[in-house]
């Protein structure tokens, strides 16, 4: 493990990702210290950046900087909750499919095939719309569901790899039940690929959620959300306020970039071939 950790920290990709993600997490944690409440208007509106409002104010009179900082919090919460849903659906399904095989595996794998037959954006739109749309909850659920299939596949593949190994047989010989073996023995040995996938999926979930917001299926407009901010900025692309595109757009891009770099870094660190070479 320590070799891996060393490999990880020697990897500049991973470090850059960690720094970017760290910054977003920091912003999310420090959000309450933002100069203004993101959901209470100030006296000025549509004003350019100045000393009082570092990134100006929007047409509602909300302070853009404060909304940006709070946006980090909601972006992380939405993305992590969505990935949480993807995990809690995908991991058990993958474990069961890989472990029991047979018709259970067949059924789960076919279901995954069907899910993957949809372009994920359209499926997310349909789910969000069917759930009524218009709230952070529906976004989380829609994004979570469409991101579940890769977890099923990943976990199933990992289980198939460890199932024939000695220590699993040993656990079984000791009389452990299926659930115990799955969660105490098999799962811990699949953690590495799950962690990598979860990191990359977080980035994807942020993009998906922003896309749903952009199409009008996101949370209500008071919610300090980058996707909502970007949608609002869109009407100004012909106007003097076109700079308003920058803060939320860069925030989303850098956060997703951070998660992608971090995911790559983790995957490099966990890659056994990588390890032997370095």
């Amino acid at each position: 493990m320590s070799r891996r950790r060393r490999a990880f920290f020697r990897n500049r990709t991973a470090i850059a990702g960690l720094v970017l993600v760290g910054l977003v997490v920091l912003a999310a944690l420090l959000a309450p210290a933002a100069p203004y409440d993101p959901e209470t208007r100030t006296d000025s509106f549509r004003s350019p950046p100045d000393a009082a409002h570092w990134l100006g104010t929007d047409e509602n009179g909300f302070d853009v900087f404060s909304r940006l900082v709070h946006g980090a919090r909601s972006a992380l919460l939405v993305a992590l909750a969505a990935v949480g849903i993807a995990l809690s659906v995908g991991v058990p399904a993958g474990l069961v499919a890989g472990w029991y095989g047979g018709w259970v595996d067949g059924a789960i794998s076919r279901a995954v095939d069907v899910m993957l037959a949809f372009p994920s954006v359209l499926l997310a739109i349909a789910i969000a719309a069917a759930l009524g749309g218009g709230s952070a909850g529906t976004v989380i659920l829609a994004v979570g569901i469409v991101n579940a299939p890769p977890f099923v596949r990943q976990v199933r593949a990992a289980v198939l790899q460890v199932r024939p190994l000695d220590y699993v047989a040993a656990a079984r010989a000791l009389g452990a039940g299926d659930a115990r073996i799955l969660f105490r023995t098999v799962l811990p040995n699949c953690l590495a690929p799950i962690l990598v996938l979860a990191t990359l999926s977080t980035g994807i979930a942020i993009l998906d959620a922003a896309g749903l917001s952009f199409l009008g299926l996101g949370p209500p407009e008071t919610f300090p959300d980058w996707g909502v901010m970007l949608t609002k900025a869109r009407v100004y692309i012909q106007h003097d306020e076109q700079w308003m595109l920058l803060p939320p757009g860069l925030a989303i891009s850098l956060t997703v970039l951070g998660f992608n770099l971090l995911g790559d870094g983790l995957s490099d660190a966990f890659d056994p071939r990588r390890l032997s070479r370095s």
């Binding site: 990897n11 509602n60 218009g134 692309i237 106007h239 700079w243 370095s278």
Partner: protein, 560 residues
């Protein structure tokens, strides 16, 4: 790692790219922004100049925010369908060009009985439909009968004819007296009757077109009129490519004089900014519903002409008076005192539009000019709330449309400003964004607490605002237009009396009293009346805004 390691540095390279691009973009903008004359809406003309010697020919393309849904004039309800239909059909009486006054159209003159219950119209002779069949009294009777008679063959299983249902409740029968004379008999006096006859749903349709393909199994005409309409208007229907374009061609035999242009195309371009881009590029020649925040850009553009006319509409906040705490008039007044209309207009209407005092817009006859609006008074609002027993405020919700309407160009901003206004007096508002049809369903069933809505004139008559939006007869759950479900008796008496009177001065007095009561009772808070805007290219001649709604392109031509 040797190779992958510098992915981080490459990643950071990403940053400057969009920044650079955007800076480039901003550079280009600055020049245009320097000279910025303030926009005075009242100086705008409603009409592009007429050309004394207009050029013949050309294709005129009109950009608008959506496609039509159907083209049966009796069955359309949405503005996008209406503006097509008004060019295909004629009505007995019509609005004078650019005005709300009624003038003869298919009917050359008319007379009424002393009790105003029998109306006799003399039809213009020699008018034919686009299919060459004659437009006679029988066709007029056919056009009204099919809307009245639920078993009529020229009616689809899905026809609703809601305009007829709403406006002609008092119509008893329509008869052909001779080939060129029609008689309408009313059950009770109905003051807006003549104005209602100018409405698109009273378009005269070709019976022969309906009959041309026989009947289907359940006895209805098989001809799909809503997709292939046949009328007598200045333009003839040619083709409809869904969501892409509707093409009409000039009716060279039009009784009122053939249009100058050869073809008229309606092109839906949902996004207002894209619509403007196309207009700037010249791929369309005129458009409706420009973004209010784009008006300055439009006025600076030498290729474009911005037209405006005072709108006949009202955007309002309705409180469900059947539900706590809005059953208490003091709470409603507190809300009215809390709302800052000027800030709403500044934030969501780009400072264009006038604060509304009454549900009857000031651009409509019958508006009570003596009303003086409340000015925002947070202290007074709080006192009123305390008197009503809500010293600590309360929680409620506000339903608003997800998509923009003419009177509500920026629904979320308007809703948020109301939410913030009320927050400052202690009322916590949960915002509920609803798709249009979902909002209609929710509000007509009375499932909302507060809602943000608006109304545009169908018929040019105060009855169309006050009776429709505030009378208790329209506060029936399931079909309500009175979204505050206000059921005041006195207001009901006044409105019914005004409906039955043909004396304009008497009606004005009645409406004045009703508006004063409604102002005090505050079941709704009228927010704003927005002017109508259109944009045409500079070489377009003869285009006119019709304040009562619809678009009429028969006078349009291009400059020589």
């Amino acid at each position: 790692m040797r190779i992958r390691g510098f992915r981080a540095r490459a990643g950071l390279l990403l940053l400057p790219v969009p920044l650079l691009l955007l800076c480039l973009g901003c550079e280009g903008r600055k020049k245009a922004a320097e000279a910025k004359p303030p926009l005075d809406v009242t100086k705008l003309l409603p009409q592009a100049p007429d050309d004394p010697q207009p050029k013949d020919g050309g294709i005129f393309i009109w950009g608008r925010s959506g496609d039509a849904t159907l083209l049966d004039p009796a069955d359309v309800t949405d503005g996008e369908s209406v503006m097509v239909v008004t060019n295909l059909f004629d009505t007995l009486v019509a609005f004078r060009r650019g005005s709300t006054e009624i003038e003869p159209s298919l009917a050359t003159d008319w007379s009424t009985s002393p009790d105003k219950l029998v109306w006799t119209f003399r039809l213009r002779e020699g008018v034919t439909f686009h299919d060459k069949s004659p437009l006679d009294a029988a066709a007029v009777v056919f056009s009204f009968e099919r809307q009245r008679d639920p078993t009529h063959s020229a009616r689809r299983a899905t026809s609703v004819f809601s305009y007829y249902q709403n406006n002609f409740k008092s119509l008893e029968k329509v008869e052909a007296v001779d080939e060129h004379t029609v008689r309408f008999t009313l059950k009770e006096p109905y003051a807006p009757f003549l104005a209602a006859l100018a409405l698109f749903n009273c378009s005269i349709v070709s019976p022969r077109a309906f009959q041309s393909e026989g009947k289907d199994a359940d006895g209805r005409y098989a001809y799909n009129f809503a997709q292939r309409p046949v009328g007598s208007g200045p333009f003839v229907f040619e083709s409809w490519e869904k969501d892409s374009r509707i093409t009409l061609r000039a009716n060279k035999d039009y009784w009122g004089g053939a249009p100058r242009i050869d073809k008229l195309i309606f092109k839906p371009i949902v996004d207002a900014q894209t619509r403007l881009k196309e207009l700037e590029a010249g791929s369309i020649h005129g458009m409706d519903n420009p973004e209010l925040r784009d008006l300055e850009i439009i006025q600076r553009n030498p290729d474009l002409r911005l037209l405006g006319s005072p709108g006949i509409n009202v955007c309002y906040l309705a409180m469900h008076t059947g539900k706590k705490p809005f059953d208490d008039v003091r709470v409603r007044q507190a809300v009215a005192f809390a709302i800052d209309k000027r800030r709403i207009i500044a934030a969501a209407y780009n400072n264009i539009g006038k604060p509304a005092v009454s549900m009857c817009p000031e651009t409509m006859v019958g508006f009570d000019r003596t009303l003086i609006d409340r000015t925002r008074d947070v202290g007074r609002a709080k006192r009123l709330l305390a008197e009503a027993g809500y010293a600590d405020g309360f929680k409620t919700s506000l339903s608003y449309p997800a998509s923009q309407r003419t009177y509500l160009p920026d629904p979320p901003t308007t809703a948020i400003q109301i939410q913030q206004d009320l927050k400052e007096v202690g009322i916590e508002v949960e915002l509920r964004k609803r798709d249009w049809s979902a909002l209609i369903k929710e509000t007509q069933n009375g499932e909302h607490e507060m809602c943000l809505m608006g109304w545009m004139a169908d018929i040019f008559d105060p009855d169309n605002f006050l009776y429709v939006l505030l009378d208790r007869e329209n506060a029936v759950e399931g079909t309500a237009n009175n979204l505050s479900f206000y059921k005041g008796d006195r207001v009901h008496e006044l409105l019914k009396e005004a409906q039955a009177s043909y004396d304009i001065h008497r009606r004005e007095r009645l409406y004045k009293e009703a508006q004063e009561i409604l102002f005090e009772e505050a079941p709704t808070v009228p927010l704003v009346t927005v002017p109508d805007f259109r944009v045409v290219r500079k070489d377009v001649r003869g285009y006119t805004i019709y304040p009562a709604g619809g678009e009429f392109f028969r006078h349009v031509s291009f400059a020589r």
